[in-house]
């Protein structure tokens, strides 16, 4: 039983965690926009308090047996009721702390990365807004509340991608991200409304209850799950709504690290985790999810194998790792997906922040350029990138190894081996594309070192410290697999003795191939895919997905929909109103025949009528 004191503590800590970033957002926007340093200090201190209180919440409530729920009726009728509040259960607490920690690290890092930017205060205002929205999303008690914050983080994503709004490509990328995720969100919202109409309650605990799903017919349940999954597809950049994520790299690198790899895009997977018991009641929908996850994972991996832009490589890798998470979840192990989400958030944020250091110092995104300008001379990001790339490839003993292992095990639990085979192929490709930038930067050809006078000092320190913290977490978190498992109370996937050697050797094979092509002394530094020109173009153009969208937009939306709507507007609506007007004019014309225009005649008729009425009333 939870003591009332603990319950009060939980509420206060949650409120502080959420309130601080929001207060800082309001204060920065209203008062301190003209003082960049003050704004940054406000934002960072607010998010530090958030982090401390989130972590204290996690540790105070650690062996949590029963979820803590604080909710209040926001709106209710006789057939439905909407609750808002906090739901503190193991999965939300873990996400809560994870988000708070990464937000703080990224904000500290931004001190160096965004130094001297004219929009410094604005940047920190948006960062605070994002921290508030993402933390609130993690502890939302009902699906509607979650949806609201889901949209707020989408807004933050739009604002931060288009942060450098003077650049046309940045505003375009922001718009693209906004519209594409909105497409998924529309489907999510329809799903939410359907559930609300049929169940009358949207609280997450209620939805996950076995009796709730039993009230829905299997077909309808599948429909609802798939509609909600549409939102996950949009937010987590899964197939077919995946191409907004690489374009989102137009934003500042810390934003990419925070929003577009570690936390915001993981919100989709987090939603899956939240509703896992509900989702898993529909076998068909789970198979669809598994397929979507697998396709996204493989497609994004191939794209990552050829791109020269280091940030885009990590963006593709994010899509593919999110695909892994969806696969693990859809294969029936919520622990596998969630554990990979946690570790991925750490090592992918690390990768982005490392590449951010290079981008900041060499002012280029091209990995060959970075190598040529002697990128390896920056030791901290180099070491951290190697660590994080090894973790991404699933090499022991790093975090990614443990989490990828659980996903592979959960896929092996399924009867059909095709998913496992696809995942193994993915492991190989992941190792290949993760080490490609590493070897290119580590073994540069035709070196052209830059003058090094502006290196070091305070901004570098601000950027290097978060890297070290994240690297430490990446090294350490994997060993906490068992305790996380017991805390989350989710069943682990089955044990498979031969799995570890197989997957590790596949990963090493990928690394070896990369070394062979990029690392060794006489290596051509050209991948086997890049040698086949059509294939390279195919992968570089993202499987022509964008062209497909353009085609659909032109043919379906503009040609078919827009034209028929124009016709409807002109023919039906305008035509109808004009018809009514014509009717009024015509009837007026007919009526005007009665009107003689002779005043005296009118008077005489009037008199006659009055006389006749008088006769009628007085004489009859």
């Amino acid at each position: 039983m939870i003591s009332p004191l603990l319950k009060e503590f939980g509420f206060a800590a949650t409120a502080i965690t959420l309130g601080m970033p929001f207060a800082s957002f309001v204060v920065i926007t209203l008062f301190t926009r003209a003082h960049p340093r003050l704004s940054a200090g406000l934002s960072i201190s607010a998010v530090s308090i958030s982090m401390l209180s989130a972590l204290s919440l996690l540790f105070r409530l650690w062996p949590l047996e029963k979820p803590l729920e604080y909710s209040t009726l926001w709106y209710g009728g006789h057939d439905f009721s909407l609750f808002f509040g906090f739901l503190l259960d193991p999965s939300s607490l873990l996400m809560f702390s994870l988000v708070a920690v990464i937000c703080l690290l990224v904000q500290v890092y931004s001190l160096g990365y965004m130094e001297g930017d004219p929009g410094f205060s604005r940047y920190y205002a948006f960062q605070s807004l994002f921290a508030w929205a993402m933390l609130s999303l993690a502890v939302s008690t009902s699906l509607l509340q979650l949806y609201i914050f889901w949209e707020v983080v989408g807004l933050c994503s739009y604002l931060l991608i288009g942060f450098w709004y003077e650049r046309f490509s940045a505003t375009q990328a922001g718009k693209k991200a906004f519209v594409m995720t909105r497409l998924g969100d529309a489907s999510f919202f329809v799903g939410v409304l359907l559930l609300l109409v049929h169940l009358g309650d949207l609280s997450i605990m209620e939805l996950n209850d076995a009796s709730t799903a039993a009230r829905l017919s299997p077909g309808f349940l599948t429909l609802c799950v798939l509609l909600v999954f549409g939102g996950i597809i949009g937010k987590s950049a899964q197939f077919p709504l995946m191409t907004w994520l690489p374009d989102a790299m137009e934003g500042p690198t810390p934003v990419s690290a925070l929003l577009h790899s570690a936390t915001m895009v993981a919100a989709g997977v987090f939603l899956f985790v939240r509703l896992f018991p509900f989702f898993s009641r529909s076998e068909t929908a789970m198979t669809v999810c598994l397929t979507v996850g697998t396709i996204s994972m493989l497609m994004a991996s191939t794209m990552a194998m050829v791109d020269r832009d280091i940030k885009k490589v990590w963006a593709y890798s994010t899509i593919s790792q999110l695909g892994y998470m969806v696969m693990g979840l859809a294969a029936g192990s919520s622990f596998a997906g969630y554990f990979h989400l946690t570790t991925h958030a750490l090592f992918k944020a690390l990768l982005f922040l490392c590449s951010g250091v290079w981008i900041h110092y060499f002012e280029t995104n091209d990995m060959y350029e970075i190598a040529r300008k002697n990128g390896r001379s920056l030791k901290t990001p180099l070491v951290c990138t190697v660590l994080a790339a090894a973790s991404l490839s699933g090499l022991p003993p790093l975090a990614g190894f443990f989490s990828k292992e659980t996903i592979l095990a959960s896929l092996l639990d399924r009867p059909d081996p095709i998913w496992f085979a696809a995942a193994l192929l993915g492991v190989f490709m992941t190792a290949y594309y993760a080490f490609r930038p590493v070897f290119i930067i580590l073994f540069p050809r035709n070196l052209d070192p830059q003058d090094e006078e502006h290196r070091g000092g305070a901004p570098y320190l601000a950027m290097a410290l978060p890297l070290l913290v994240l690297a430490g977490l990446t090294l350490g978190i994997g060993w906490f697999e068992r305790s996380l498992e017991s805390f989350l109370g989710m069943a682990p996937p089955g044990e498979h003795a031969w799995l570890t050697p197989v997957s590790v050797s596949v990963a090493f094979l990928g690394v070896f191939l990369t070394w062979f092509e990029f690392g060794r002394r006489t290596a051509p530094q050209m991948g086997f895919v890049e040698r086949i020109r059509p294939l390279k173009t195919f992968f570089l153009r993202r499987w022509f997905l964008d062209d497909l969208y353009a085609f659909l937009l032109k043919q379906v939306v503009y040609r078919l929909l827009a034209r028929s709507f124009t016709q409807n507007d002109q023919r039906v609506i305008d035509g109808g109103i004009e018809g009514i007007a014509r009717l009024a004019v015509g009837s007026g014309r007919i009526c005007s025949y009665i009107q003689s225009g002779l005043l005296r005649l009118n008077l005489m008729v009037m008199l006659l009528v009055v006389v006749l009425m008088g006769l009628y009333f007085f004489l009859l």
Binding site: S592, Q595, S596, G597, L598, L599, R600, L603, M604, L607
Partner: protein
């Protein structure tokens, strides 16, 4: 009361019909207005006669109101006549058939 009550009413009726004839027969707006005035005066005569007959002051008070209304009506009416004359250049009500055309 020297004059019989019925005579007063006959006078009122006669004045009323004279006014009515004026309204209906004349082709000049001003004359029509005058006809309306005459008809109102007929009503006033009837009121005064009634007041005398029943010995109550209400009828006489009403006549004062009728005089006021008649004055305003003439003021507004004449203004309208001027406006109509400006638009059509005539005071013949039979020419006021713009809607008809």
């Amino acid at each position: 009361m020297i004059v019989p009550f019925s005579h007063v009413f006959i006078l009122a009726a006669a004045v009323f019909f004279i006014g009515l004839a004026c309204v209906l027969a004349r082709r000049n707006l001003i004359m029509i207005l005058i006809g309306i005035e005459i008809m109102m005066n007929a009503a006033a005569i009837a009121f005064v006669g009634g007041a005398l007959h029943w010995g109550r002051l209400d009828g006489q008070a009403f006549v004062l109101f009728i005089l006021g209304v008649a004055a305003t009506e003439v003021a507004v009416g004449l203004a309208l006549v001027v406006a109509a004359h400006r638009v059509t250049g005539s005071v013949d009500p039979d020419r006021y058939n713009l809607l008809r055309r």
